[in-house]
C-alpha cells in the first residue's frame, strides 16, 4: 500500500517530464555557454605555470577547500560558512538525484538504495535545514547587524547588499523547495492515517511532512510536482546567475585553490617561462592592460566572494589610503564582465592605470601580506600589485619621490645616495672597534658567517645602533663573522616589490657574487627585508637567519644569558614585522628571547603573529608620500597602548623608523618607546664571567616555560 501511494505521488512527475527535460537542457546549455564566455579572457591571458605538483595541490584542496581552513579566523561568518559548505557537500548528490528524477521518476542513485539511502536521506534532511537556517541568519546579519567590512565606500560604487541578499534568499528557496519535495513524497507514503515514520525529526522536511500529514493525495501530488519545479528552476537559475556576481566562487573556488601558489614567499616572475637572462628581449614588463594578467590572476577575480576580510586587515585601507584589496579584485572582475560580455565581441584592452586603478592606489600597498593571510579562497594580491607596478615602472609612471631613491640605488647601491665607501662607517668608531671588532671580508679576510647589514642599518644614524647591537651579539657568542662593507649593495627587497625588476637583478647579481667570493657558510641579518630577499629572491646562497633566531638558539644553548630587566615597571609588547612574521614565519623566537629576560612583563597586542598590523612599510615605502587620513604607524602605536604596553619591541629597522615617528605623531612621546630586539638583548646580556657563565646545556627557566 505504501508502495502504491508512493507511486501515486511520484508518478505526478511523469506529467511534467517534457517541461523538466526542457528546463534541464536550457539550464545546462545556458550554464555551459556562460562559463565558456567567462573563460574567454582566460584564454587571452598571460601564461601561468600551475600544473605541477598535483599531490601538493590536492593537499591544498583538502586543507583550504574541503577543510575550510581559513574560515574560523572570522568566527561568526566562518562558522556559518563551514555549516552551509558542509551542507552543500552533503546535498550535492541529492541534488543530482532529484534533477534526474524529473526525467526518470523512480531513479535511485547507485549505492543509495536501502539502509544507506535512508541514512543519507536523514543526513541531507538535516543538511537542508541547516543550510536554510544559515541563509536566514546570513540575511539577518546583512540586514540588521551589517558588519562594517561588507559596506561599499562611495568611491567604489553602489552597495552589494541587495545582490548578496537576493542570492542568499535564492538558496533558501532552493532548500525550501527541496524540503517540500521530500515532505510531499514522505507524506504520500504514510497516507492515509498512519503513524508518522521516524525520520529526521525537527528537520525542515520533517516539519513540512507533519504539516502535510492530513493533506489529500492529489494535493500532495501537486505539491510534489511544484516542489520539484521550484527546485529545478531555482537550481538552474542560481547556476546561471552565479557567474554574474560574488557567488561564482561556488564553481571556481575548487580550481582557484587547486591552482593556488604553493610557495607564497616566491614572487611571480615577470613572465612565466622566461629566464632572467632573456628578460631584455621581453617587450613589455608587467600588467598594463587586463590581458596582461595571467589566467590564474583572472580566476582570482572570479573567485572573490566579496567577504571583505582582505580589506578589513589591510593597513593601507585602514589608514585611508586609496587602496582596498577587495576592490582591486572587484573592479577587475567588473571590468572583465563588462569587456567580455555574454554576447558580442570583447572590448579593446584599455590601460588599467588611469582608468580602473589610480597610480596612488597601486603604490599604496606595503606588501605586508595581511590580505593574503586572510583570504579563505587564497586570492593572491602581492603578485598583482607588483605586476601593476612593473607596468608603471616600464611606462615611466613613477612618482618623483620614488625616482630619486631608485636612481640612487642604481648609482650608489643605497637609496640615500651616500658614498659606497661609507657603508661600513657604523662599525668604525674607535671605542666600538675595540670592544667589538667587525672585519670587512675580502680575499684575505674570511669568516664563517656574514652579517648582511643592508642599507638602512648601514646609513641611518638611529638604525646603526641596531647594527652595532647585532655585531656585539655575534661577537659575544664568539661567531667568526664579518661584513661586506662597500661591496654590499641594497638587498633590493623593495626594489623588486616596487616593480623595478631589472635594477633588482643587478643588485642580486652583485651581492650574490660578493657573498660567494667571501666564502662564508652562513648569513645573518637583523633586517627582515634583507632576510626575505636573500632567502627567497636570491638563489644558491648559504642559509640565512635573522638575528632573533640566532639569539633564541643561543639562549637555549646557554651561550646567551640575560640579567634581570632594567625597567621592571615597563610593560613590553612585541610587534611582528611583516617580513619576519608573515613572510618568513618567525613568530616564536623573538618572543622566547623576550621571555628569557628575567622580570620582563610582556603583553600581546590584539593583532599579533600572522595577524600583525604593518608599521607602514619599509624600504622604498619610506620615501613614498601616500595620501592618507592617519599614518599606519600611528594606528599600530595606539594598538600597543590599548594592549597596555609602553615599550614596543620590534625586530626590523623599518618598523623602528615608522614606530618611533608614530609615537611622536600620536603625542605619546615619553609615555611610549620603541626598541629593537637586538638592542634589548644586547643591553641585557650577561657578559662578565664572574656573573657566572652557564654551563652548556643549562637552559634558563623562562626560556623553557615561555609565558
Amino acid at each position: 500500500m505504501v508502495e502504491g501511494n508512493h507511486l501515486a505521488v511520484t508518478s505526478w512527475l511523469v506529467s511534467g517530464r517534457a517541461l523538466f527535460l526542457a528546463i534541464h537542457v536550457l539550464g545546462i546549455v545556458g550554464f555551459a555557454y556562460i562559463v565558456a564566455r567567462r573563460l574567454v579572457p582566460l584564454t587571452r591571458a598571460e601564461r601561468d605555470l600551475r600544473f605541477d605538483q598535483p599531490l601538493a595541490r590536492l593537499r591544498m584542496v583538502l586543507k583550504f577547500w574541503l577543510g575550510q581552513w581559513k574560515h574560523p579566523r572570522y568566527k561568526t561568518a566562518g562558522i556559518l560558512h563551514i555549516l552551509f559548505f558542509s551542507g552543500f557537500i552533503l546535498l550535492a548528490m541529492r541534488a543530482f538525484t532529484v534533477l534526474i528524477l524529473g526525467v526518470s521518476y523512480n531513479f535511485v542513485m547507485p549505492g543509495l538504495a536501502g539502509k544507506a539511502g535512508h541514512i543519507y536521506e536523514i543526513a541531507t534532511d538535516y543538511a537542508a535545514t541547516v543550510v536554510f537556517l544559515c541563509m536566514i541568519v546570513a540575511i539577518v546579519r546583512r540586514v540588521v547587524f551589517r558588519p562594517a567590512r561588507y559596506e561599499v565606500p562611495a568611491k567604489f560604487g553602489k552597495s552589494h547588499k541587495a545582490d548578496a541578499i537576493f542570492l542568499l534568499a535564492l538558496i533558501a528557496v532552493l532548500m525550501l523547495a527541496d524540503s517540500l519535495f521530500e515532505a510531499a513524497k514522505a507524506a504520500g507514503q504514510i497516507q492515509p492515517g498512519q503513524a508518522i515514520a521516524f525520520g529526521a525529526v525537527f528537520s525542515l522536511p520533517w516539519l513540512l511532512k507533519v504539516a502535510l500529514a492530513s493533506a489529500s493525495l492529489p494535493t500532495l501530488g501537486r505539491l510534489y510536482f511544484s516542489g520539484y519545479l521550484l527546485h529545478e528552476v531555482s537550481f538552474y537559475f542560481l547556476l546561471c546567475y552565479r557567474p554574474f556576481g560574488i557567488q561564482f566562487h561556488v564553481e571556481t573556488s575548487l580550481f582557484n585553490i587547486y591552482f593556488a601558489k604553493l610557495d607564497r614567499a616566491q614572487l611571480k616572475p615577470v613572465k612565466w617561462g622566461v629566464s632572467d637572462d632573456a628578460l631584455d628581449q621581453v617587450k613589455s614588463f608587467g600588467v598594463k592592460t587586463f590581458e596582461d594578467f595571467t589566467w590564474k590572476q583572472m580566476l582570482d577575480f572570479y573567485s572573490c566572494a566579496d567577504c571583505g576580510r582582505c580589506s578589513d586587515n589591510c593597513p593601507a585601507n585602514a589608514a585611508g589610503r586609496p587602496l582596498s584589496p577587495r576592490f582591486l579584485t572587484i573592479k577587475a572582475r567588473d571590468y572583465a564582465f563588462q569587456h567580455y560580455p555574454m554576447f558580442g565581441k570583447p572590448g579593446n584592452g584599455k590601460a588599467l592605470i588611469g582608468n580602473l586603478y589610480s597610480e596612488d592606489e597601486i603604490w599604496s600597498c606595503t606588501t605586508c601580506g595581511a590580505c593574503e593571510q586572510e583570504c579563505p579562497l587564497l586570492v593572491e594580491y602581492i603578485d598583482k600589485i607588483v605586476d601593476l607596478r612593473r607596468g608603471m615602472i616600464d611606462d615611466g609612471t613613477v612618482p618623483q619621490s620614488l625616482q630619486k631613491p631608485l636612481k640612487a640605488i642604481e648609482s650608489r647601491g643605497n637609496p640615500y645616495g651616500k658614498l659606497e665607501k661609507k657603508r661600513a662607517d657604523w662599525a668604525g668608531a674607535k671605542d666600538f672597534q675595540q670592544a667589538c671588532p667587525v672585519k670587512t671580508l675580502g680575499k684575505k679576510n674570511g669568516a664563517e658567517t656574514l652579517y648582511f647589514v643592508d642599507s638602512i642599518t648601514s646609513f641611518d644614524d638611529r638604525m646603526q645602533s641596531i647594527g652595532r647591537a647585532t655585531a656585539k651579539i655575534l661577537h659575544h657568542i664568539e661567531e667568526n663573522f664579518g661584513i661586506l662593507g662597500s661591496a654590499e649593495k641594497d638587498s633590493g627587497n623593495e626594489v623588486r616589490r616596487f616593480g623595478e625588476e631589472t635594477l633588482f637583478l643587478a643588485l642580486r647579481d652583485h651581492n650574490t657574487e660578493a657573498i660567494k667570493a667571501s666564502g662564508v657558510k652562513h648569513l645573518v641579518t637583523a633586517d627582515p627585508h634583507a632576510l626575505n630577499a636573500l632567502r627567497h629572491d636570491y638563489k644558491d646562497l648559504p642559509p640565512v637567519e635573522h638575528i632573533s633566531q640566532v639569539i633564541a638558539r643561543e639562549v637555549k644553548s646557554g651561550k646567551i644569558r640575560f640579567k634581570p630587566v632594567e625597567n621592571g615597571d615597563k610593560v613590553y609588547t612585541y610587534h611582528d614585522p611583516c617580513y619576519l612574521g608573515r613572510h618568513n614565519q618567525v613568530y616564536e623566537d623573538p618572543r622566547h628571547v623576550l621571555d628569557a629576560i628575567p622580570g620582563l612583563k610582556r603583553v600581546e597586542m590584539k593583532r599579533s603573529r600572522d595577524r600583525s598590523f604593518c608599521c607602514g612599510g619599509g624600504g622604498l615605502m619610506l620615501f613614498y608620500e601616500p595620501k592618507e587620513e592617519e599614518r599606519i604607524g600611528v594606528k599600530r602605536v595606539r594598538m600597543a597602548a590599548e594592549a597596555g604596553a609602553n615599550v614596543i619591541v620590534t625586530a626590523c629597522p623599518f618598523c623602528m623608523v615608522n614606530i618611533e615617528d608614530a609615537i611622536k605623531v600620536a603625542g605619546l612621546e615619553g609615555k611610549m618607546s620603541a626598541i629593537d630586539l637586538a638592542e634589548l638583548a644586547e643591553q641585557h646580556m650577561v657578559r662578565e664571567s664572574s656573573e657566572g657563565q652557564p654551563k652548556v646545556g643549562e637552559i634558563p627557566q623562562q626560556c623553557v616555560t615561555g609565558r
Binding site: 614588463f285 648609482s411 635594477l503
Partner: protein, 263 residues
C-alpha cells in the same frame, strides 16, 4: 613639430658629498657620480608630451666628451628619437658663450621648430639658452612653466613671477625656451630602458663637422674664467630648541610671529 632638447651631464648633487680639491679651485671629482642635469629632464618630458600630442620628433644634444654619451642614452631611453654628441678636444674649457656657439652651429645644420633647455645647469649659471637664442636671432623665453601650442607658428607660454602670479605670453616659432622644473612630472627611466637603447647609434660632430673656427670656442676663447671655488662656512643662524614638546611649540610660534609670519 621638430624639437631639440639641449642636455648636460653634471655631478649629481643628491648622491655626492661635494669636497674641494687640494688646490681649492675645483671640487674633488674622483668619486663623483654624474647624471643628467635634473632640469633637463623636465625639458625632455615637455618635448615628449608635445610630440605625443602633435606629432614630430625629439632630438637631444649635448656638448662634451665620450662620457657624456650616457646622458644622451638616458634621454633616448626616456623617449627621444635621436641623440647627438658634439665633442671635440677644442671645446674643452668653453665658457657659456663657447657652448652656445657650438650649439648654434649644430642648430643651423638642422631644421628645428622649438629648442628647449633646462632652466639651468646645476653646476652652471643659466646662460646658454639666452645666448643661443640671441646668436640664432630666435625669440627666447626663460623660466617657462607651461606650453600650449596655438597653431603651427605660435606658442602660448607662461612663467611664474615673483609672488606666485602667472604671466602669459605668446611667442613665435622657431624659438628657444628654458623650462622651469615643476612644469611636468618627468617619467622614470630605469636600467631596462637604458639597455634598450644601448646600441642605438649616436652621431658625433666635432669642430670641422660643425664648421666652427677654432678661435671662437674652448678655453682660450673663454672670457669668463673660474678663479676660485669654496664651500661657505656654516653660519650660526640655526637655533636649536631643546625644550619639551609644548615649550618648543610655544617658542616656534613666538619666533614665527616675531618675523611677521603670523598675523
Amino acid at each position: 613639430m621638430e624639437i631639440l632638447v639641449c642636455a648636460r651631464r653634471v655631478p649629481d648633487t643628491s648622491e655626492n658629498e661635494i669636497q674641494l680639491n687640494s688646490a681649492g679651485n675645483d671640487i674633488e671629482r674622483d668619486e663623483l657620480v654624474y647624471s643628467i642635469n635634473e632640469p633637463d629632464n623636465y625639458a625632455m618630458e615637455e618635448a615628449l608630451q608635445i610630440v605625443a600630442n602633435t606629432g614630430g620628433s625629439v632630438s637631444v644634444v649635448t656638448v662634451g666628451g665620450e662620457d657624456d654619451e650616457e646622458v644622451l642614452r638616458r634621454e633616448m631611453a626616456m623617449g627621444a628619437n635621436h641623440g647627438i654628441l658634439l665633442a671635440d678636444d677644442a671645446f674643452a674649457g668653453s665658457d657659456g658663450r663657447g657652448i652656445a656657439s657650438v650649439l648654434k652651429a649644430f642648430v643651423q645644420k638642422g631644421n628645428y621648430d622649438l629648442i628647449l633647455t633646462g632652466v639651468q645647469a646645476e653646476d652652471g649659471g643659466a646662460q646658454v639658452g639666452g645666448m643661443l637664442a640671441a646668436m640664432l636671432d630666435y625669440p627666447f623665453a626663460s623660466l617657462v612653466n607651461s606650453i600650449e601650442i596655438l597653431d603651427g607658428k605660435k606658442l602660448k607660454i607662461s612663467r611664474e613671477i615673483e609672488g606666485g602670479n602667472k604671466e602669459i605670453s605668446e611667442i613665435d616659432l622657431p624659438c628657444v625656451l628654458s623650462i622651469q622644473t615643476g612644469i611636468n612630472e618627468p617619467r622614470y627611466v630605469g636600467m631596462r630602458g637604458i639597455r634598450a637603447v644601448a646600441s642605438a647609434p649616436i652621431p658625433k660632430y666635432g669642430l670641422s663637422d660643425l664648421g666652427i673656427s677654432a678661435g671662437t670656442v674652448g678655453a682660450d676663447a673663454a672670457k669668463v674664467k673660474r678663479v676660485d671655488y669654496f664651500i661657505p662656512v656654516l653660519g650660526k643662524t640655526a637655533e636649536m630648541l631643546n625644550g619639551s614638546r609644548e615649550e618648543n611649540v610655544e617658542k616656534v610660534l613666538d619666533l614665527v610671529a616675531a618675523k611677521g609670519g603670523l598675523k
